[in-house]
């Protein structure tokens, strides 16, 4: 009595009850496919976020001034930034970020916008691709020229074309605005949201020289947020420490702890942990349906054993051992669950790509997911098949032969 005979018998039996076998599999199919789609989307989402963060750079540190405790003299100045770059070898780029919510308008349209004031280094720190034109340069920053860089969705919204280089935009508060010339258009900032948000609904972000922003809002150059990028991943931590040290020296506030340096990778780890827990939780809920599917397999196998009592009796009378009968029914339940697992796997991957398309996430299907799901469905088949199979194997041949 070999495996091939058993598999052949099991398939015969499954095929002779196609509808019932399919419905039994359905539980497993739903369970496996939902676990697969959720996990693939979860991992895909993590990869997307990691990618976004890596774009910003693993060697980037954000230094902030604790505004609640800071005095006016503690705020970072443009001079500080210059000095940081000059004196600390580890620092490759340093950019301030100041932002104001304002209004931006073209001839076509007027929209609320986030106006980011920064310097020429931001393009390297942000690592966004420039599609048309260029980012403003050092001289333009120092002179506080009225220039702006926007992303392509904003360009389309304001000018009806992606290539908006040379166009002008009125930027400012509702009371006073200034004309700024577009010098560059970057790739969309919110690409990761894909089609989830309508283009016209996406926030508008405008990069301008921080010095121009100061003119625009007639404010003194107080900087509370600064990004620095180290020359390598290894030197990142050190660059952060050196930078805060230098700031404390320059501002003479060593006694007060007003500067905070954060590595963005740490935040990424946190986000990924949260996302991982979230994915695991939903997957666990989906796995419960797999358990329910397993109970379905057991139920049908029990019915099958009862229905085939006489067959079992005949097989025993002509020489089948207990183990033969046991193995026969176990093979059947494993094949049902495995087949369900394979169908579920295919549907799950398909579902993940379909949902991913809608959500703008590229699902990641790892070999581990595939192996685990197939192994798990086989395990369900064995676990829930063993009781019916034992029941079949233990039948008394005389009783079984008498069964009508």
């Amino acid at each position: 009595m070999n495996l091939i005979e058993n598999i052949k018998m099991a398939i015969d039996s499954i095929m002779s009850n196609k509808m019932r076998s399919f419905l039994t599999m359905l539980g497993i199919i739903i369970g496996i496919s939902s676990v697969i789609s959720i996990v693939s989307l979860g991992v895909g989402g993590q990869n997307t976020i990691t990618g976004e963060f890596e774009k910003i750079g693993v060697s980037t540190i954000r230094i902030t001034v604790k505004t609640a405790e800071a005095e006016t003299s503690d705020y970072i100045t443009y001079k500080d930034i210059e000095q940081l770059k000059e004196k600390i070898d580890y620092i490759k780029y340093a950019s301030p970020i100041k932002y104001q919510t304002g209004v931006a308008s073209s001839e076509r349209k007027s929209r609320t916008a986030m106006v980011y004031g920064t310097n020429e280094d931001m393009i390297y720190i942000d690592n966004t691709e420039i599609l048309y034109g260029r980012f403003f340069n050092k001289i333009e920053f120092e002179e506080g020229r009225a220039l702006a860089v926007i992303d392509e969705t904003a360009a389309r919204s304001f000018f009806g074309t992606s290539d908006a280089v040379g166009q002008t935009l009125n930027i400012g508060s509702s009371s006073s605005t200034k004309k700024a010339t577009i010098v560059g258009v970057t790739k969309s900032q919110f690409e990761m949201f894909g089609s989830m948000i309508d283009e016209e609904e996406m926030p508008v972000i405008i990069y301008v020289p921080a010095t121009f922003l100061d003119r625009l809002y007639s404010k003194e150059s107080r900087i509370s947020e600064l990004y620095i990028m180290a020359d390598s991943k290894e030197n990142t931590e050190a660059a952060g420490i050196l930078a805060t040290n230098m700031l404390m020296n320059r501002h003479g506030n060593r006694d007060r702890d007003v500067y905070k340096a954060e590595n963005l990778m740490k935040q990424l780890d946190q986000i990924n942990t949260v996302l991982g827990i979230f994915t695991a939780f939903i997957a666990a809920v989906a796995a419960i349906s797999l358990l329910v599917g397993g109970v379905g397999v057991m139920n049908i196998m029990l019915v099958s054993v009862t229905e085939r009592t006489r067959e079992i009796g005949i097989r025993k009378a002509i020489g089948a051992k207990t183990s033969n009968i046991m193995f026969q029914f176990l093979t059947e339940s494993v094949i049902i669950s495995c087949l369900g697992g394979i169908i579920g796997l295919i549907l799950g991957i398909a579902g993940a790509y379909l949902l991913g398309q809608l959500a703008g996430i590229t699902p990641t299907v790892t070999p581990q997911i595939i192996i685990v799901s197939i192994a798990f469905s086989s395990a369900v088949g064995i676990f829930f098949g063993i009781y019916p199979a034992r029941k079949a194997a233990k039948l008394d041949p005389i009783e079984a032969l008498r069964y009508e």
């Binding site: 009595m1 005979e5 015969d12 039996s13 002779s16 006489r310 067959e311 009796g313 005949i314 097989r315 025993k316 009378a317 002509i318 020489g319 089948a320 051992k321 207990t322 183990s323 033969n324 041949p397 005389i398 032969l401």
Partner: protein, 230 residues
């Protein structure tokens, strides 16, 4: 070949216990053709089940081919059913989803015989019962007489020591009964030991020896005179 010594079978269901066999002793030699007769409830089916290793006796001794069966495990009994015993049932007991050929091959599957040899031996067995032309049909596509012939082919395919036939003609008409009995007689002529349970004197008349049972005891054991022979 078969030796029973004081075989007792007691069915105990709760408070009530029923003694189906009250100390049966018998001796059956190779090549014999024995009918076990008696009214229903006399214990002949119980005896058959014990002889066929489907059931265990309460006490006594059963020696088959020089081997003591009494203390064997379920799996050892299955092994004996597989190799030493060929069953023919009143209700044929073919597996409906399998073809005739597959039904006949099945005992050899459990005996671990390779596929090719199985096919050859199954075809040879079907040849012996004169049914080699319908091997791809399923049991519900053939007549009762043909079903019983398939069952006989299945019973002989592993070359068992004895063929146990439990009312093999009980579901068949007179004409078909004659056909089946002819085949069984033929098998016996070819050297098979046959044990037949029946309550029809006509059918018993085909055998060589009759054991008469009543209330779990053997009341008569005699050689058949004027045996019906084809």
């Amino acid at each position: 070949m078969i030796k029973l010594e004081n075989v007792v079978k007691v069915y105990a269901t709760g408070e009530i216990s029923l003694t189906a066999l009250k100390g049966i002793s018998m001796d059956i030699k190779p090549g014999e053709f024995v009918s076990i007769m008696g009214p229903s409830g006399c214990g002949k089916s119980t005896l058959m089940n014990i002889l066929g290793c489907l059931d265990r006796m309460t006490s006594g001794k059963y020696i088959l081919n020089g081997k003591d069966i009494s203390g064997l495990s379920d799996n050892e009994l299955a092994e004996i059913r597989c190799r030493e015993i060929g069953f023919v049932f009143q209700s044929f007991n073919l597996l409906p989803r399998m073809t005739i050929l597959e039904n006949v091959e099945l005992p050899m599957v459990y005996a671990g015989i390779p596929r090719k040899e199985r096919r050859e031996r199954a075809l040879a067995a079907l040849e012996r019962v004169d049914l080699s032309n319908r091997i791809k049909h399923r049991p519900n596509e053939i007549s009762g007489g043909q079903k019983q012939r398939v069952a006989i082919a299945r019973a002989i395919v592993n070359n068992p020591s004895i063929i146990l036939a439990d009312e093999p003609t009980g579901n068949l008409d007179t004409k078909v009964t004659r056909e089946i009995m002819k085949i069984i007689q033929q098998l016996n002529d070819d050297g098979a030991t046959v044990l037949l349970v029946t309550h029809e004197p006509d059918v018993a008349q085909y055998s060589k020896r009759i054991i008469q049972m009543l209330d779990g005891e053997i009341i008569d054991d005699y050689m058949v005179k004027n045996r019906t022979v084809f």
